[in-house]
Amino acid sequence: MDGLRWIAILSVGALLLAACGGDGGTSPGAEGSDAAAGATDTPSQAAGDCTLDEPVKVGVVFSQTGPAAVYGSTQLNGAELAAEEQNAEGGVTYELIVEDDASDPAQGIPAFEKLINQDQVSIIMGPTLSNTAFSTDPVAQDAGVPVLGVSNTAEGITEIGDYIWRNSLTEGQVIPQTIEAAVGAFDLQKVATLYGDDDSFTVSGHDTFVAALEEQGVDVATTQTFAKGNTDFAPQLTAARDADPDALVVSALAEEAALILQQAAELGIDVPIIGGNGFNSPAIIEQAGEAAEGVVVGAAWNSASDDPATADFITAYEEAADGAPDQFAAQAYAGMNLIAMAVESACSAEPDAIRDALGGITGVETVLGEFSFTESRDADHPAVVQIVEDGSFAILE
């Protein structure tokens, strides 16, 4: 073989690597603002009057396998239920194209690319985890396809770009209300905190709790940590108990949350336990049983609401799926309905038109309550503070 020729090829290769270095940021999405300006001229029609011949393709990326599958499965039920109801009404129909990101950003990116490039969806709902969203949402932003997150609670998601929306309240919106209500109900002076320190969700939840406690003038007597996958929390709970707090504030994922509740009860901890978003599932009550009584948790969805829409949703969900809906199901259900509102008000399946129509959504009725998008494309709707009583969530008075 000719040695010199190969040297030449390798050198060219190295130069190529160097030359390509600066490139990468430019993409169709960069012209998004122009498209937005044009789209506002489109005459919008009143919702309900619109008819589209083709079904609107909605990409759905939820974690159906991996650690976040617990949330992803009820999310999918909620989204599918809403799509069925929309399709039954006629006018505009929706085709959900469902992909699994396996709770892994590296699988979320191909899923997004497939939905955008191959299926050419109008909008994408998801992904389940904020961590995945940080990797996937820029793909949609660059391609000019709107994304509606229905469970991303981390700070900074919608800052990724002007195509990124969410209908999920951030921890920063829910937790201060939770603490405020709990302080009012239990006259808290000092608390012990407990959180998983190796997960972005539980860490940011804990940070928000601490900030909210400080604002309310509540002391943190002790802070205990654990890791994902732990099953024995006795040392941390014992230390927390010995600090003699008025309440225990816990930021944990669902798997650990149920165990923590059970073991706290076994150790005789009878002060109220205030949980983060991870506690927000009927499954926890089911698993922890008696031990879940008295748990306080802030939620984006009030399952005990007297609103008939909520009752209808619960009934329909229980019929379609096995089991009761949780907040994640409600948020996905509401998300699909918000997408339908946007599509019908724009009367278009064009991504840019849908994006603009999302911006026009204010004060609409959803299962989450009266809903608006903020200037920064985040969710604005009332949060509720719940307490577990007799095996189900009730409003904390």
Partner: protein
């Protein structure tokens, strides 16, 4: 095509990134080191490079260089303490390191802790990712037939024998580790600058296991293995998506099933499937076969100074309270054929291990070619011109006979890897001459016609002869044969005696340890007798055979007939 690339851009890029990670695993596996620190190296490089890009805005090529260097340096620093561990212990230590890295990344402020680090600009393009993959593949393609590559393969097959061939085992392991770190670092840089977001959980134990899967499923027998393994396993979820397997638990289930099938039914990995199609090892040595072996003597290493080749003075070795050797002193002069006999447990193998540096004497002085051995590693002793065979054959079982022998030439071969890497023609010439030397040695022991067969297929007697050829290839001044006739029948022993004489005739000094007394008497000019760790006789064969103490040592009684010294071994 363009459509395909656009639609599958991310999958294709991940295939390349994971392929690079697979190569980093391959780098240690081909040296026989089961290290699982690859994900940790990737993590460190990913964080370092991302921080450089975010905070300093360094250009991407520079970031790549820094990331690769960081991976390599960390691997080198970790390798220094942990590479003395073997097998599962090395795996555990490296898993521990990976966990440490994850914990640190979780708790530092600069890495963003559990929240992760973002936004990292996405700069990696498809072609850059594949260029990186191609560079890694090229590295190993050029490595395998070089002296370095052969040494790594020998190290994987048998570490003790590799050291006895003069291979600096520690340096070779560190090389493999450092290359592994560099490539893991490369994959980490590519990953972080493609996904725009990194968090500690992405580089945990699962990622380490993925790297192992990529390498093993692809196959470690060929440099294309990691490309296939990384590519196939990364494409699998996409393939299922295209085949219409519904998202959900079935996909991971099928993944597991396919994995199981590959490991069970294609043990050589995916690359093994290509073997019948012509990626055979025979072709690789085409050049050597053209260099027609002229059956010439392997010329012994030139004399270095005067004086005895080996000098022992008052040497003792004790294991706990048990004295294996005591007050042993003798010299071996240039050109001698010295036999060393003694009953089982007399300390013969201990003695040969001391002379070759595999063990240290407890007391006394050991000199080889004028160099005093004090904790001198075996490979250094080999470089003094000492070669040996083993009592229990220690061949590199999966390597061909020719490669086995070529490894034996480690001491005299020139390293060719760097020149190979940049395709300098001289490297090819050197390799051809190394293989020609190996062929001459094979011819000497009469095994040239089976040069391409793996050593494990040879019969016991042939394995012994192959070991002698391997020892000769290093052109030693002193050859130590540890019971070469053990297990040989009468005829084989006879031809072995001829072989030993012909080696001696070429000027190689020989120290022969044997139970077969007839063989020793027939071939040696001088005989040493060990009994219970003491030297009880030293002289010409005839004299020693009549020595009453020798006879007593062998028979347990004082015998009248000197000729009754036993003729066969155990």
């Amino acid at each position: 095509m363009a459509d395909f690339v656009r639609t599958y851009n991310a999958v294709l890029v991940f295939m390349a990134i994971n392929g690079v990670l697979a190569f980093s695993m391959y780098a240690v596996l081909i040296a026989g080191q089961l290290s699982l620190a690859q994900a940790a190296f990737a993590s460190i490089a990913a964080y370092t490079s991302a921080l450089l890009t975010i905070n300093l805005g360094l250009p991407f090529p520079l970031v790549v260089v820094v990331g690769v260097s960081v991976g390599a340096i960390v691997a080198l620093l970790l390798g220094l303490p942990v590479l003395r561990l073997r097998g599962v212990f090395l795996a555990i230590a490296t898993i521990g390191f990976g966990e440490m890295v994850r914990i640190v990344a979780l708790n530092l402020d600069i890495t963003g802790g559990a929240i992760g680090l973002r936004p990292i600009p996405k700069v990696v393009t498809l072609w850059q990712a594949y260029l990186a993959l191609a560079l890694c593949a090229c590295f190993f393609w050029r490595l395998r037939p070089s002296k370095l590559g052969r040494g790594l393969a020998a190290l994987r097959e048998d570490e003790v024998a590799a050291r006895a061939m003069g291979i600096d085992v520690v340096r070779y392991k560190l090389f493999a580790f450092t290359v592994s770190g560099a490539m893991a670092g490369l994959s980490g840089v590519l990953f972080s600058h493609f996904t725009r977001f990194i968090a500690p959980g992405q580089f945990g134990f699962e990622r380490a296991v993925e790297a192992l899967l990529y390498a093993v499923v692809g196959g470690t027998g060929h440099w294309l293995g990691p490309v296939l393994g990384g590519g196939f396993l990364t494409f699998l979820p996409e393939l299922q998506r295209q085949l219409g397997v519904e998202a959900g638990w079935l996909r991971p289930f099928y993944n597991g099933l396919i994995l199981l099938a590959v490991v069970l039914f294609v043990p050589g990995g995916l690359v093994g499937l290509g073997r019948p199609l012509g990626v055979s090892r025979r072709r690789r040595f085409g050049a050597a076969e053209k260099a027609a072996p002229s059956v010439e003597a392997a010329s012994p290493a030139g004399p270095s100074g005067n004086g005895p080749l080996v000098r022992l003075e008052d040497v003792g070795k004790s294991y706990g309270g048990l004295a294996a050797l005591a007050n042993v002193g003798f010299c071996v002069e240039r050109g001698e054929v010295v036999g060393l006999i003694g009953p089982n447990g007399a300390g013969k193998t201990t003695l040969i291990n001391i002379v070759t540096g595999l063990t240290q004497a407890s007391t006394g002085v050991v000199e080889v070619r004028g160099t005093r051995l004090r904790r001198t590693p075996a490979n250094r002793v080999t470089s003094l011109g000492v070669a040996r065979t083993f009592q229990q054959t220690k061949l590199f079982a999966h390597l061909s006979a020719r490669e086995n022998v070529a490894v034996g030439g480690h001491r005299v071969a020139r390293d060719t890897f760097l020149r190979r890497l940049v395709f300098v023609p001289g490297a090819r010439r050197d390799e051809a001459s190394d293989l020609a030397r190996a062929d001459r040695c094979l011819a000497m022991v009469g095994l040239l016609d089976r040069a391409d067969e793996p050593a494990e297929r040879f019969s016991y007697g042939d394995q012994r002869r192959l070991e002698i050829a391997r020892a000769l290839c290093g052109e030693p001044a002193l050859l130590l044969l540890d019971e070469p006739a053990a297990g040989m029948n009468h005829v084989e022993a006879q031809s072995l005696a001829d072989l030993i004489r012909s080696i001696a005739a070429r000027g190689v000094t020989i120290l022969l340890i044997e139970h077969n007394v007839r063989l020793v008497m027939r071939t040696c000019s001088r005989v040493l007798v060990l009994d219970f760790g003491r030297l009880i006789a030293d002289g010409p064969p005839g004299e020693v055979a009549r020595d009453s103490e020798v006879i007593r040592a062998y028979l347990g009684t004082s015998a009248d007939q000197p000729s009754s010294v036993p003729e066969a071994g155990p």
